[in-house]
Symmetry: C2
Subunit: 385 residues, 2 copies
Amino acid sequence: MPKNYLLIPGPTPVPQDVLLEMAREMVNHRGAEFASVLKTSTELLKKVFKTQNDVLILTASGTGGMEAAVANFFSQGDPVLVGICGVFGERFAKICKTYGLNIKTIECEPGKGVEPEVLEKTLKENPDIKGVFLTHNETSTGVTNDLKELAPIVKQNPERLLVVDAVSSLGAIDLPTDELKIDIVVTASQKALETPPGLAMVSVSELAWKYNEKANLPRFYFDLKQAKKFLEEGATPFTPAVSVVFALKKALENILTRGLEENFKRHKFLGRAVREAIKALGVTRLLADERWASDTVTPVVPPENVNPDELRKYIRNKFGVVLAGGQGSLKGKIFRIGHLGYVEPTDILVAISAIEVALENLGYKGLKGKGVQVAEEVFAEYYKN
Amino acid sequence: MPKNYLLIPGPTPVPQDVLLEMAREMVNHRGAEFASVLKTSTELLKKVFKTQNDVLILTASGTGGMEAAVANFFSQGDPVLVGICGVFGERFAKICKTYGLNIKTIECEPGKGVEPEVLEKTLKENPDIKGVFLTHNETSTGVTNDLKELAPIVKQNPERLLVVDAVSSLGAIDLPTDELKIDIVVTASQKALETPPGLAMVSVSELAWKYNEKANLPRFYFDLKQAKKFLEEGATPFTPAVSVVFALKKALENILTRGLEENFKRHKFLGRAVREAIKALGVTRLLADERWASDTVTPVVPPENVNPDELRKYIRNKFGVVLAGGQGSLKGKIFRIGHLGYVEPTDILVAISAIEVALENLGYKGLKGKGVQVAEEVFAEYYKN
C-alpha cells in the first residue's frame, strides 16, 4: 500500500503525538487524573470556540452534538428556521422534524450560501421564529456561510436562539462565538481539532440555558444540563471515550501553541491553493461559488466523461491520496478534497499531482504540473509572510 | 506513582495489543478498510452475544445503548416493567420515564436480585405490559440476575419484548441471547470486552424490529434502523469512533481465541476468590446476597469505623490499586472491587493484599495474608483444571 494521505473532510489525519495519547493505559473516569484532563480540555476548547459560555463534551459524533442542540433547548411545535446549503443543513432540518418542531427553511442552490437579504426577509415575515439553525461550513457543497454577516441579522431579536453547526470549521475558520452572540455552537473531535472521532462539543450561552428550563423534548444521554453539573466535578454523567479526551487535550495544546490565527491563515492558504490549482487545470471546475468557497473542503466537478468515484479509486490506489465522494444529490457527480486539520501544503501538492497524473492517464493531456505550479505560487506567498 | 491496577467495574484495563490499535493512523470511515473492520467486529460480537440477531455498534457509552433500546421500540404511554436492583435498573426506569412510557417497577433490596415469583406475579397482574427491562449484572450492588430463570417468564407471552442491560456482564458471564429469546441486549466496549470506552452495542431480534415499525418515540443519532441499513455497506450513519472499533476487533479476537467459556470460567473463579477473601478477613462483609453474587464486581461493606472512600484513597496511593466507591444510596457506605475484562488472578492477589495492609494500618490486626490465603486456594483449583 502507498503512504496514506487522508484528504477527506473528516476524519482528518491525526499527528503522531496525538495518536500516542490514544494508546495510553486506561484510567478511572471518576478519578483525579481524568478530572484534570477533562477540565483542561474544556478550558482549551473555550479558547478555540472563543467563548466564555459553557462548553460540554459528549461521547458521540458531531450529529449527536446537533441532536443535543435541538433536544435541550426547544419544545414540540416551536417555530424554527433552518438554513440549508447541503446535506448537513438538511440534517439539522431532519433532526428538528424528528422532534416535532415547526420548521421553515431557506434552501440554497448547491454551491451557494445563505444570502443575508433572504435571511432578513424570512425572519421579518416569520417574527415568531424562536431559533435559527445555520451551518457554518457545509461539507457537502464546500460552502462557508458568512456568520459575521448572518449572526447580527438573527440577533436583531436578541431573544432568538442562534444555533451553529461548526463541525467542519471550528479551529480552521474563525468563529468568534461570543462576539457574534452565537448561543449554541456544535463541533466534533475529528475535523479541524486533529483528534480521532468519538467526541462532540457543544457551547451553550446564558440565553440557551434559559430556553433549556422550558424545553420539553426528551433527552437523557444528550442531557446537557446533567453534563454541566458533572463537569463541575471534572466528570461526565456517563463513561466518556477516555482515550479520545486524552488525545483531544494534546491536540488542542498543539493547535493553541501554534496559534489559532496562524491556523486560520494556513487553512486560508490551503483552500486558495486547491481552488487556484483546480481552476488552472481547466478541465475541472469548482462547485462552490467563490463568494462562499470553503477553506476546509473543496468539491470539484470532474471533466464530463470522468466518473469521479473511479478517479478517486485510481488516485487512492496509486498515490494513497484518499479523497471524498459526493453526498446526497451530488453523489457520483463530484469529488471533494478535504484540507482541514493536520494538513499541510505538502499534502496539497501531492494531491494536485495525483489528480494531474490521473487525468493525464485518462487522456486529458498537457495537465502535468499545471495545477502544482499555481499551488506553489500560493504557498510561496504563504511562506513569505 | 505506583503501577496501575485498575479494578473498577469499568472502564477496565486494556491489553497492550489492543491499546496499540488505538494509536493506528486514521482512515476513511467510508473506505474499504474500515468497512472490513466494522463487519468483522460485528460478526465477532454476534459470537459473544450468542445471537444471530442484528448487532449494531453505536459511538456512545452503554447508557446511549440503553436509550437506543427504549427510543427505537416503544411509543408514548406504552406500559413497561422495569426490574430495579440498583443504579442501572433505576437508569432504565428514568430513560423510560423521560420518553413518556408508562412504567411499573419491581424494586429489589440492595444486594438482592429479581425473584422469579415476583416477576411472574407482576406480569400476571399486568397482562398489558409490552416490554420488560432487566439488568443482567447490576454494577452498583454486585447482583447478577438469573436470566435463565427470568427470561422464560417474560416470554410466557412471546409477543412481549425482553430488553436486557448486559453492559457489565456480556463476555464475562454467560448470556445466551438467542437461547433465552432476549429481544434487545445492550453492552459497551469498556467492560468485559477489554476495549477503551466509546462504543455501545445493541442486538435486535426480529420481534423487536416489528415493534420498531410502530414505535413513535423520537430518535435520530440512535436510530438503529439507519444503523442496520448502513451496516450492509460496512458503514455507520455517522462518523464512528474509528480507533475504538479497531481496538474492539483486536480485543474480540483475543477473547474468542482464548474461548468464551474459558472467559466465563476465569470470571467465576475471580469472583469466588474475591468473595472468599472478603469473608475470610472477618471485618469486611459482602453486600450482595450470595444467591445473586456477581462474578464481575464485588461490593464490600468495610468495618464500621472505616470510611470506604478514605480506604480507597490509601490503597490507590500506596499500591496503585484503583477501586470504585458506592453509587446512589450506597455512596460512602461501601467500596467495590471490579474483576472483569482484562483482569487476572495476580491482580486480585494484589488487591486483597492491599486491602489487608490498609486495614492492618488502620488498626485491624491479624489480617495479613488471611484473605490472600483463601484466594490462593481458589486459584490453585482454577489452575488445576
